[in-house]
């Protein structure tokens, strides 16, 4: 069974702090995506990574794909209240289906 495990499940931090969330699997993924979902809305794509060891930056967000393409991390620098939301990783193992993790729910307090 393909399974994406995300940790932590929930994270509550103060504005200005840094944080890292993780996405792990025993399967090798051909590509991995990170989405953010806000309450009452659908997920919105943040980034796609395809190469083992790849690092992508999006303003204060840094995404890394593991060398073996089995894991990924999302690091946020100087979190802001606007970063609050559910962060989902989603991976593809080469077929026609994208598998989503359960997500990390982030709450950034002012």
């Amino acid at each position: 069974t393909q399974l994406l495990e995300q940790s932590p499940q929930f994270l509550s931090i103060q504005e200005g702090e840094n944080l890292t969330v993780y996405c792990n699997s025993s399967s090798v993924f051909s590509s991995l995506q990170w989405y953010r979902q806000e309450p009452g809305e659908g997920p919105v794509l943040l980034v796609t990574v395809v190469t083992g060891g790849e690092v992508k930056k999006l303003k204060r967000l840094t995404f890394q794909f593991g060398d073996a393409r089995k894991d990924s991390s999302l690091h946020i620098t100087a979190a802001q209240t606007g970063d609050t939301g559910l962060y989902l990783c989603a991976g593809n193992t080469g077929g026609f289906k994208t598998i989503f993790g359960a997500g990390t729910r982030l709450f950034v307090k002012a």
Binding site: S31, G42, T48, V50, L88, K97, T98, F100, A102
Partner: protein, 116 residues
């Protein structure tokens, strides 16, 4: 460019009743997805269409769920009869071409279903 539209936004029904959800994807998008997102979980793919053909419906409970995408555009998802465990947000998404893993999936706002 208009996004993915879904209706209704909310629906409350009693168990054993029927319900239908509608999705209008982004114009020209070939691939359409229906996901079920139970509270505290990530989206689970129910069915995936490429144009009007089904690519994957392996996790669709076919004894009670059905979906169609007529003319390769709009889609409806039906549950008949509903069970308590069907309470969830039903998300529709679309992507531009035939399925490519690196494509962006554009999601609608979802329909929140409560089964009493």
């Amino acid at each position: 460019e208009a996004g993915v539209a879904q209706s209704p936004r909310y629906k409350i029904i009693e168990k054993r009743q029927s319900v239908a959800f509608w999705c209008n994807p982004i114009s020209g998008h070939a691939t359409l997805y229906w996901y079920q997102q139970i509270l505290g979980q990530g989206p689970k793919l129910l069915i995936q269409f490429q144009n009007n053909g089904v690519v994957d419906d392996s996790q669709l409970p076919k004894d009670r769920f059905s979906a169609e995408r007529l003319k390769g555009v709009d889609s409806t998802l039906k549950i008949q009869p509903a069970k308590l465990e069907d309470s969830a947000v039903y998300l529709c998404a679309s992507s531009p071409g035939l399925y490519v893993a690196t494509d962006t999936q554009y999601f609608g706002p979802g329909t929140r279903l409560t089964v009493l």
